[in-house]
Structure formats: C-alpha cells, structure tokens
C-alpha cells in the first residue's frame, strides 16, 4: 500500500557511510557532481507518511504553475484593450493553450488545498515551536504570497469576474490609504493597473515565493523534519516518493484540465458587481457580504496575523500534538469561521460591495 511506511525501510546505517565514504551510491558520476549525497541523510521513519509530504507536494504544484504560467505569458496581452481577446486566443488558437490554461487554473486550486492541509498538519503537530519558528514564518509568508497570486491571477482574465477583481484592488487600495496606494489607478499615469498587476503576478510575487521556499527548505534540512521516531529512513527515499506523488498529482490535474476546462466570461462592463470570485477566496466574499469592502482587507489580514503570531502565543511546554491550549482552540475557531464564511459566500446571492 503506497500510503504506509514500507516494511523494508532501511535504518540509517553508519556502516553504509563507512563503505561509501564519498557517497557514490547514487550516481557516482552525476550524483556526486550534483551533490546529491547531501540528500542522503537520516529522517524519522514517521516522515515517510504522506502527511509529511504535503509541503513538498505544494512545491510540486507551484512548479507546475510556474511552467504553465511561462507558456501562457507568451500569448497573454496585459493591456486592458487586449487582455480579454488574448485569453480567448489562448483558449481557441494557441497550441495546447486551452489545456495549459486549464492546467494552470486547476493547479492553483490544488495549491490552495495542499497548502491549507499542510498548515493544518504543521499547526496540529506544533512544528512551529523552537527552534522552527523561522521555518513557520517563512511558510506563513509563502501562504500569504499564494493568496496574493490567486487574487492577482483572477484579475488577469479581464472578463467580468477579472474586472471586478481589479475593482476590488482599487477599492482596497483606497481604503488603506498610503499602504494600498500601489493598487490605485492614481499610483502612476504611465500605465494602467492591469499591467502592474500582471507584473506582480509574473515576477515580484513568484520571486519572493521562491526566495522564501529556499529559506523554508534550507531550514528544514538544517533543523530536521519534525516527526516522531528514531531515524530509520533515508531522506532520498522520502524525496523519491514525494516526487512520485508530485507527478501523480500532475497527471491527475492534466486529466481534470481536459475533462473540466476553465471557461471565460464576456468582455467586462464597468459599474456593476455581479460575479463571485475564484473559489479559494469565497470566504473573503462572504465576509464582504457582512462587513462591506472592509471585509476583504480585515479578513485576510487577521488570519495571517494570527498565523504569524502562533509561535509567540503558544507558550505551552513540549511539542505534543494537540497540546496547544487556548491557541489550538483559537486556530480551530479560525478554521471553522473560514469554512462558514466560505459556505455563506458560495451559497448566498451575489452582492454589490464596492462602488464601481
């Protein structure tokens, strides 16, 4: 069974290192030249479970997003007068454009699922406790960047839904004053907002994400995977199995992209708000229904602020999963609230939140 720890997982043998001091076991040629020996270290046997691979799986899906995004960028026109037509061109004329765009769409949803599950598992395991606080903060930073990538990506469609997403950026920028001036049309006269959102989505945000990912992986390597049990497995086996799960996920998303291709709305009509956002942010939409435009600013801010302060709030002794005390209950409350808001946003009628 692929999800259980294999019975023949080997111990991390010092004897193996003695027999193979230059670590030529894995590709004495290429492996040694690429420094793959650095991946051949011991990890707890528990870490071979799939729950310890959610972060790596997220990374695999992010790679797929980058690859498909690079392809889409060859055909996308980020100017307001050309954006919608270029998306239609991608769907109808660009080679494999429809499939690649749908793959990009489904991968984005997949990343939201895996990153949410990863955060929930790490929170449950209390893996943010010392000495792994910075690892946690890097992860929270990445989650925030993924959120921004989702909302900026939605705007690039420049159909009715995309235009309303842009309008929300402008409204949020105006609400937050100096903090949000970048998202207002008045930030510069040289270019409208859409190309600037495109630049964020394709360069600044991915760059920051990859930088934090590098820090995150480096710290995991240095501090070790936080899992129970004695070191009885090899990280390279973990990496190989993770790669397998990543490729299986790619294949599954490829099938989804064929079976359920992503659509496109009509050219946008300004002045109306009638669509609902991409499903990962429906909880923000629900909060907007309750609080108005401030909901889209306060909701995500408070959630990420809570996540960022978890290592400081959980002063409990030890690392026992579930031993969070009140912090655990607060985390559960946040998750339940998000779920409830999501349902409210999904099932309720579309509403006007901002003056468009």
């Amino acid at each position: 069974m692929v999800l259980s720890v294999p019975e023949d997982a080997r111990q991390g043998p010092a004897e193996e290192r003695d027999r193979d001091p230059e670590n030529t076991h894995h590709g004495g040629g290429i492996g040694r030249r690429l420094g793959l020996g650095g991946l051949d270290y011991e990890i707890p046997r528990e870490a071979q479970r799939w729950t310890y691979m959610l972060g790596g799986l997220t990374a695999f899906l992010l790679v797929l997003l980058i690859l498909t995004g690079i392809y889409l960028a060859q055909f996308y026109n980020p100017s307001p007068v050309g954006a919608h037509d270029s998306v239609l061109y991608i769907i109808t004329r660009a080679p494999l454009g429809d499939w690649v765009r749908s793959l990009h769409y489904w991968s984005a949803g997949g990343v939201v699922v895996t990153i949410s599950a990863h955060i929930a598992w790490v929170f449950w395991r209390r893996s943010y406790k010392a000495p792994r606080e910075v690892t946690w903060w890097a992860g929270v930073g990445m989650a925030g960047l993924v959120f921004l990538l989702v909302v900026t990506g939605t705007a690039l469609r420049y159909d009715q839904e995309g235009f309303e997403a842009l309008a929300h950026f402008v409204a949020g920028g105006e609400l937050t004053g100096a903090l949000g001036v970048f998202f207002t049309e008045g930030f510069t006269l040289s270019t409208p907002l859409l190309p600037r959102i495109y630049a964020l989505h394709t360069s600044a945000l991915p760059f920051l994400l990859l930088a934090l990912m590098g820090l995150h992986f480096w710290l995991i390597k240095q501090l070790g995977i936080h899992a129970d049990g004695r070191p009885r497995a090899r990280f390279r086996h973990h990496a190989v199995r993770l790669t397998g799960f990543g490729l299986l996920a790619w294949g599954a998303l490829g099938v989804l992209a064929v079976a359920l291709p992503e659509g496109l709305g009509y050219d946008p009509v300004p002045g109306v708000e009638m669509t609902k956002p991409f499903w990962p942010v429906l909880w923000v939409y629900g909060l907007e229904n309750l609080l108005g435009a401030w909901g889209m600013v306060l909701g995500p801010s408070l959630v990420f602020l809570f996540l960022a302060t978890v290592p400081l709030l959980d002063r409990g002794e030890g690392h026992e999963p579930g031993g969070h005390g009140w912090v655990g209950w607060a985390g559960a409350a946040v998750a339940i609230t998000i779920a409830a808001l999501w349902l409210y946003g999904a099932l309720g009628a579309a509403q006007q939140h901002i003056g468009m």
């Binding site: 007068v81 239609l88 397998g244 064929v258």
Partner: protein, 182 residues
C-alpha cells in the same frame, strides 16, 4: 580551378540575398493617434515604401483581421491619408500592417480600437458583432455567464496531452512504489 568555381556561385548567392533585401526597404507607418473609435478614421502616413508599388492595409487582432484598403505610395515612397476603420471592428489591441504584393509584411503600427462614440456611430454599438466562428454570440449587457466557446483539438495535441499525462502517471506510480530502490 577552385577559386573560379567558388567565386561565381558565391557572388550569385550574395546578389540574390541583396536583391531580396532590397525588394522591401525598411518602410514605416505613422499616425498622430494611438487609438481610433470603431467606425472612425485614422490619419496615417507612410515612408520608405517602394514607390509606385501598391500595398494593402490590414488591421490584425488576436482573433480578427480586417482588410481596410489598398494604397499606392508616391515615387518617393511616401503617402498620407485617412484610413476608415469599419464600425464592426471589436474594441481591442490591433496591428495595422502594410502587406506588399508578394505577401510580405513591410511595415506595422500598433493601434487600439475603442468603442464607437454614442450617437456618432450608434449602429456599431447596436449591431451584433459576428463572432460565429468562435461561437461566442453577441454581447448585449453585463453578465456573470461564461462565453460559449467552441473548443477543438488537433490529433497531435491529443497525442501530446496523452503522452504527458501518461508519463507523469506511470513515472509517478513507479517512484511511489519503488522509492527504496533509489
């Protein structure tokens, strides 16, 4: 002798390349406006065209192409005129290209076509835009509905998708089941 047998073909090839390069000197199109309303006119000037040889002016977008008119530059390779943009042109980003008789594009100009002005070319707004080749239908008002897009894939595309998905699945499964062999 070797020199005699290599110099002549090389000279002929060089002359041929030069003649091809000289057939379409670097022509340019200019306009005092970067955008034009559908149904309006765009002031256009050209220079460095081949004098006396007619070119066609075509408006090319991501999805549509509109044949505007032909123009014959003067002997000095210049021309100046107002080009009428049909009222049926969908607002968007276009390239105005000058196409020579042999099909080569000899000059391009980026142009934005905007919504026709109300009252001036009202028929362009009310007229149903023909998107039948895309199956998208007319756009009359704001809607949250998705466009009905006709999708089709060539056999090669299906093959590539199948290959990529199949490889990912097969290799992935193999790695998951046999990770300890690596």
């Amino acid at each position: 002798m070797r020199r005699d047998t290599t110099v002549r073909p090389s000279a002929i090839l060089l002359a041929l390349l030069l003649s091809i390069g000289a057939a379409h000197p670097e022509a340019t199109l200019r306009s005092s406006r970067g955008e034009v309303p559908a149904g309006g006119s765009l002031p256009l000037s050209g220079e460095k065209f081949t004098g006396g040889e007619s070119v066609r002016l075509v408006l090319r977008g991501a999805l549509d192409e509109y044949d505007l008119r032909a123009v014959r530059p003067a002997e000095d390779g210049t021309f100046a005129l107002d080009v009428e943009v049909p009222g049926t042109v969908r607002p968007g980003s276009y390239r105005l290209v000058a196409v020579a008789g042999d099909g080569d594009v000899v000059a391009t100009l980026e142009v934005s076509v905007v919504q026709a002005l109300a009252g001036e070319h009202a028929s362009a707004i009310e007229e149903t835009v023909d998107l039948s080749k895309q199956g998208t239908g007319p756009v009359a008002h704001a809607t949250a509905e998705e466009m009905p897009i006709e999708r089709s894939r060539a056999g090669l595309e299906w093959g590539l998708i199948g290959l990529l998905v199949g490889l990912a699945g097969a290799i992935g499964l193999s790695l998951v089941l046999h990770a300890e062999r690596f």
